[in-house]
């Protein structure tokens, strides 16, 4: 059972977090807190695996809580916030994932799942030691210690979050202060824009589905679904057809066909 501590200073927001997380199998809500100070106290007492918290909180804010706990019990941190009007370029926090308010239940679930994967990674000691990526194309993520690089191939998808973008990999997400347009300049053709608020790495796409309302979604490995904007559809079709020809022969080409939901 994965043990989760939920923290938000607004009662309604906290209730929502509890409602979503309590329904997840193999996940247990071990406690809640309504301010930064109590969050630290509870975390030290309960030692949760995952800490879900908001940034704007009384006494200590989310960033301060995470930084205190990162030197102690080191839970996986999922940040939930409106992400509106923060001046910082590098969030002084190394969260596993970032979820936008207003909350979408599936995003929060994916964040918890990502945190669980990370826990498993750490437990199996398979975390890659920071090594030089050499000539592999990579994306630079600024952080308080100067920054680190993420291989483009590891990026699953990129999501817009007000003044920031969230770069999702399998076991970690990174927050960068950037616009989508600025991001587009850095990304290779394998990671095209599919929506006003999303880029997707086609190498991680398993299939795409169409709802009866005419909404197209790309389903990635691990189950995350990203909506496709109408103006990006035709380019995406071409790109997917091209990437099909790049598949190694052992892959089943049927997987990239259109499924009607």
């Amino acid at each position: 059972m994965t043990r989760v501590l939920l923290v938000d200073d607004e009662p309604l927001a906290l209730r929502r977090l509890v409602a979503i997380v309590a329904e997840m199998p193999n996940v247990e809500v071990v406690g809640t807190a309504s301010d930064g100070e109590s969050a630290v106290v509870e975390a030290r007492r309960l030692k949760p695996d995952i800490l879900v918290l908001d940034i704007e909180m009384p006494v200590l804010n989310g960033i301060e809580v995470a930084s205190i706990l990162s030197t102690e019990c080191r839970p996986q941190v999922v940040v939930v916030s409106a992400f509106a009007r923060y001046a910082t370029d590098a969030f002084a926090i190394e969260a596993t994932d970032y979820v936008l308010k207003p909350l979408r239940p599936d995003r929060l679930r994916q964040a918890i799942e990502r945190a669980e994967r990370r826990i498993a990674e750490v437990a199996a000691l398979t975390t890659a030691a920071p090594k030089s990526l050499g000539t592999l194309p990579s994306l630079h993520i600024p952080d308080v210690r100067g920054g680190h690089d993420v291989a483009m191939g590891n990026i699953k998808w990129i999501e817009a979050a007000r003044d920031y973008v969230i770069v999702h990999t399998a076991a970690q997400s990174h927050l960068i202060r950037s616009t989508m347009a600025e991001m587009a300049d850095q990304l290779p053709a394998a990671i095209p824009r599919v929506h006003r608020s999303a880029f997707v790495n086609l190498d991680h796409v398993e299939r795409w589905v169409r709802s009866d309302k005419g909404v197209y979604r790309l389903v990635l490995t691990d189950g995350e679904a990203v909506q496709v904007g109408p103006s990006y559809l035709s380019e995406l079709r071409t790109a997917l057809r091209d990437s099909k020809s790049r598949l190694p022969p052992s892959r089943n080409p049927q997987k990239l066909s259109k499924d009607k939901q």
Binding site: L12, A13, P102
Partner: protein, 346 residues
């Protein structure tokens, strides 16, 4: 009107004196014609031109003075310059005549004094019109800029997204009534903040309703941590105020007294009329002492904006005062009661 905004005063001055010279020359053609008269007229006009620049500068300075002083300076300027040029003109006309420079030379030309005063008077009026029009246009531009800046602070993304989050919680908990209530309040608030005409004045009563809608939403978000009190005189409710002038003050109270405090805060809003002035106060009182220094990141901008809007609207600086007191933070707005909504206009 537009010409007045763009006219260059120097061109007008030159034009005026050129006209004077031409008029004089035309008159000199009437018998008995004398070319010397024409020459003297040109000399006079040149003097007039020189004096005019001084007059223009003085007029510009005088216009920023309070009304009485401004009028005095302008009249003195006209008389001084009119007299100076009259003396010069008379001298030009009489110097060449032997024994011509006598007192009687001046007295016979006394109507010229009137003429020159009228000439300078005309110049002063035209210059004053030009400068006033420009000042008005500038003030209007500043008013619009202040209001556009105000727009940015009125739709607070943080407030909006957290409110939508709260509504989605109510929906997921099947509390349809509470959700509808919150949606209605949000719509009411947004209908004012997203209004077409933000330059409008509204009766205080309406402004308070908008603030109330905003605070009721925040009360749902913060629960017991936000308590609001209102104390408004009946006589105050019809006074016209700029739309959403109180919004940044109330937002600051929530951001800096309610949100960072575990026990929350009480926000008190009062409105009274004292000697033809509407006085509105927004006081926040945190129930637990906040030890950390109140970080005014962002508060300064919102407050500055309110001050700018008030100054642009009413022409006086200092209508917004803020200070910390022993209870917390107090913001005071003073609005002249010149405009009161009449019953029939409601």
């Amino acid at each position: 009107m537009q010409y007045l905004e763009r006219a260059k005063p120097q061109h007008l001055i030159c034009g005026l004196w050129a006209a004077n010279a031409i008029l004089g020359m035309a008159l000199s053609l009437v018998p008995p014609a004398e070319s010397e008269v024409a020459l003297k007229l040109v000399k006079t006009s040149l003097c007039g031109l020189g004096l005019s620049f001084a007059v223009t500068a003085l007029t510009e300075r005088a216009l920023v003075l309070p009304r009485r002083q401004s009028l005095t300076v302008l009249v003195l300027t006209i008389i001084a310059s009119g007299t100076l040029i009259w003396i010069a003109d008379t001298l030009f006309q009489t110097l060449t005549i032997p024994g011509g420079w006598t007192l009687s030379a001046f007295t016979t030309r006394r109507y010229n004094w009137v003429y020159f005063n009228l000439l300078f008077g005309l110049q002063v009026i035209v210059i004053a019109l030009i400068f006033s029009t420009r000042a008005l246009a500038l003030r209007q531009k500043q008013l619009v800029e202040a209001q556009l800046a105000a727009l940015r602070f009125q739709v607070n993304p943080h407030f909006l997204f957290n409110t939508l989050n709260a509504i989605s919680t109510l929906v997921s908990e099947r509390d349809g009534d509470a959700a509808e209530e919150m949606i209605a309040k949000l719509a009411e608030f947004l209908s004012v903040t997203l209004a077409e005409n933000l330059t409008s004045l509204v009766p205080l009563r309406k402004e308070l309703e908008t603030i109330q809608a905003y605070l009721e939403i925040e009360t749902v978000r913060f629960g017991d941590r936000l308590k609001v009190r209102y104390a408004c005189d009946k006589s105050a409710s019809d006074v016209l105020v700029p739309s959403l002038i109180l919004q940044p003050l109330v937002e600051n109270a929530v951001k800096f007294a309610v949100a960072p405090s575990k026990g929350g805060a009480v926000v008190t809003i009062t409105a009274t009329v004292v000697e033809k002035e509407l006085i509105i106060t927004v006081q926040d009182t945190a129930t637990l002492a906040i030890d950390t220094v109140r970080k005014y990141v962002g508060a300064g901008v919102g407050l500055r904006n309110v001050g700018q809007r008030l100054e642009a609207q009413y022409g006086q600086p200092g209508l917004l005062e803020t200070r910390k007191n022993e209870r917390g933070f107090l913001a005071t707005v003073r609005i002249p009661c010149g405009q009161i909504l009449r019953r029939s206009e409601t």
